[in-house]
């Protein structure tokens, strides 16, 4: 275990940024928190979490995959891939850390997504324990411990100090690069901080939410539930929930005519959109009810069915605080199992 006083945080940022790119959660002009490249004077946000999740670092909203230059009858294929620079992300919460392992199951499974893998290999994650979780937090439902957030280095902020514990080789390598600012210490203060967070976790209003009633074996009964109609009724069909979600991983690949050639890009897609998975035969999910159902079935049933029971939600609560009509996965879970739990 290592530690550094809070007042030296800027020096830690500065030293980290000398060696590699550094991103920290900071406030925008509008007061929303987002990960930003660190520069002199940028302060860590007071907000509990960022609006956009940390998945953006590995799975960006849009990226060019390949280019084509067309001349006469010849087509030249242009590889636009570049080796990513090393980067460090400071202050990732436990929920987002878990989301990376969910995304890994999708993008690192055969055939490996080399664009994703490239970024994943170059990123070092410094996680930060949640001293003051929000009422919308329910990571515990999915077995995530916000008092021990994981990643390459896990951190606790308590009594004017940041405590750092490296967990991986990358984490050890990071500690080496900034060791001149750190002092070695025992684990008592971090353990005390963990106990304090454990006490808060019990008081959270969603502490009792369980995954009972969901999972890969509940496919038929949940798919056919009569409650989807009422749940989906007010859905606007916007993509807010899917775009702030750390685990939503659906994408579309399209060609864009640049005027000089073709650029093939990948972009986030949303199952809430009317053209999601639209094929030559049309859109397989005709109404918002089917699209809405798809999102929750994917996270609570299809994903665990294909991934040894792991759920496709990490309980970060972003959809709870951002949905324009306040419909979200917690209301869906409670409603579908009403009377069961």
């Amino acid at each position: 275990m290592y530690r550094i006083p809070e007042q030296n945080l800027d020096r830690l940022f500065s030293l980290t940024a000398e060696k590699s790119k550094l991103y920290i959660p900071a406030d925008t002009a509008a007061g929303t928190a987002q990960f930003m490249p660190w520069k002199e004077g940028l302060k860590l946000t007071d907000a509990h979490n960022t609006v956009r999740s940390a998945k953006d670092f590995f799975f960006p909203q849009t990226e060019n995959l390949v280019g084509f230059r067309v001349e006469g009858k010849s087509i030249e294929v242009i590889d636009v891939r570049e080796e990513t620079e090393d980067f460090v992300v400071f202050g990732v919460r436990a929920c987002d850390v878990r989301s990376f392992s969910i995304l890994d199951k999708v993008f690192l499974a055969d055939p490996v997504d080399t664009y994703y893998k490239n970024r994943r290999e170059h990123g070092t994650i410094l996680s930060l324990a949640c001293n003051m979780p929000e009422e919308t937090c329910f990571c515990g439902t999915f077995g995530i411990d916000c008092a021990a957030p994981g990643g390459d280095v896990q951190m606790w902020q308590t009594d004017g100090w940041f405590y750092l514990e490296p967990l991986t080789e990358k984490g050890n390598a990071y500690i080496d690069t900034v060791s001149s600012l750190l002092e070695e210490c025992g684990g008592e203060a971090a353990a005390e901080c963990r106990r304090a967070i454990d006490a808060v976790k019990k008081k959270l209003p969603l502490a009792g939410l369980t995954t009972e009633g969901f999972g890969g074996d509940k496919m038929a009964e949940l798919f056919d539930s009569e409650k989807w109609g009422e749940l989906a009724e007010a859905c606007l069909g916007c993509g807010t929930c899917t775009f702030v979600c750390p685990t939503c991983q659906c994408y579309d690949i399209r060609d864009f005519n640049t005027g000089h050639g073709i650029s093939r890009f990948r972009c986030w897609d949303s199952c809430m959109y009317s053209d999601f998975t639209k094929m030559s035969a049309g859109q397989p999910r005709l109404t918002q009810l089917e699209r809405f159902r798809q999102r929750f079935m994917h996270k609570l049933v299809y994903f665990p069915a294909n991934n040894d029971g792991e759920f496709g939600c990490v309980g970060c609560g972003r959809c709870l605080s951002k949905c324009p009509i306040s419909m979200n996965i917690v209301k869906v879970m409670k409603n579908l199992t009403e009377g069961d739990q």
């Binding site: 009422e135 864009f256 419909m327 979200n328």
Partner: protein, 324 residues
């Protein structure tokens, strides 16, 4: 107010005057209220709420619900009633199949603004005489409602309804000291470069979730051009981030003269982009060029942008480029 509304909705459902009621449904944390359709007095009794967090404008749901058999009751706050009237004017909602109940409103709260005051872990909120008491995981806090109102309520133009079949509570007045164009004037006084930077900065946060468009009562096209694969618009993946900016500007043009300034776009934006300012700029320009006009105020007046007169002002003469 909530109890009066519940009683009246149940009566009208039971006596068959209406077949369904569009209202607001309680959530888990008081502030997370969802628009809902209620079809029985039991459903009303169980879940219907009308609190300081019923900011959502229900009028757009009528496009779908008013096509169902029987009458649909909708509760309308003053600002919502303008959206409703405009939808009727545009023949998007059949007036005869709607039973519009006007409800009084003294402004609705914005939970994000409560959070901005440093309040974390909100478990419950109660309102009494304009004061909110917030019960949190980390203790109680009190806040004046007036300081945490939605943007649309902080610059409320009128508490008087445009149209209704029945009024519950007291009808309000126009807000005399409303200065909803203050920020627009501030932007107008900037240099074009400053203004460009302002908007590029604000719009750079856009994630293209389309929440602003989908909630907008003026956006009721059967198929939006941005959702049409054949339009040649790469809506999901901007080749250039300026495309994202253009989306909002094109949308503001499209609803110009029809936007009632209900403020839903700004309320729902997950990235807190002040989208209403684009619309207010159009409203202010229209007022200055063609005389005061309020979309949705009455069923007959022709909207200035679809009403050509030879005496119309020529904008390029009234406004010289970059200055008045």
């Amino acid at each position: 107010m909530q109890e009066i509304m519940k009683k009246r909705a149940s009566e009208l459902l039971l006596d068959g005057t209406v077949s369904r009621v569009i209202g607001w449904k309680a959530g888990d944390f008081v502030y997370d209220i969802t628009p809902a359709v209620f079809e029985s007095a039991e459903e009303i009794e169980k879940d219907f709420v009308y609190t300081a967090f019923c900011g959502a404008n229900l009028s757009k749901y009528l496009v779908k619900e008013s096509k169902k058999p029987g009458k649909t009751l909708v509760f309308l706050k003053p600002c919502d009633s303008y959206s409703f009237a405009q939808l009727v004017k545009e023949h998007r909602v059949n007036r005869d199949s709607v039973y519009a109940v006007a409800v009084e409103c003294r402004g609705k709260a914005d939970v994000d603004k409560i959070r901005d005051c440093g309040v974390k872990g909100i478990c419950g909120i109660s309102e009494e005489n304009g004061t909110l008491t917030v019960d949190t995981v980390y203790g109680d806090k009190t806040l004046p409602l007036s300081e945490v109102m939605l943007e649309k309520c902080a610059s409320c133009k009128t508490r008087k309804h445009a149209v209704y079949d029945e009024l519950l509570g007291e009808e309000g007045e126009e807000v005399a000291d409303c200065d909803r164009f203050g920020k627009v004037r501030e932007l107008e006084s900037m240099t074009p470069e400053e203004r460009y930077e302002f908007w590029r900065g604000e719009l750079s946060r856009c994630i293209r979730c389309n929440a602003c468009r989908n909630v907008c009562p003026a956006c009721t096209c059967e198929k939006c051009v941005f959702d049409n694969d054949n339009s040649g618009i790469a809506q999901k993946a901007a080749a250039d981030s300026f495309e994202e900016n253009m989306f909002h500007i094109i949308r503001a043009f499209h609803v110009a003269g029809r936007c009632t300034d209900c403020g839903e776009c700004t309320r729902v934006c997950p990235q807190k982009i002040p989208l209403h300012l684009l619309n207010r700029k159009f409203i202010k320009d229209i007022n200055e060029l063609y005389g005061d006009y309020q979309a949705g105020a009455d069923p007959d007046t022709r909207p200035p942008l679809t009403d050509f007169r030879t005496t119309d002002a020529e904008p390029s003469i009234v406004y010289r480029r970059g200055e008045k």
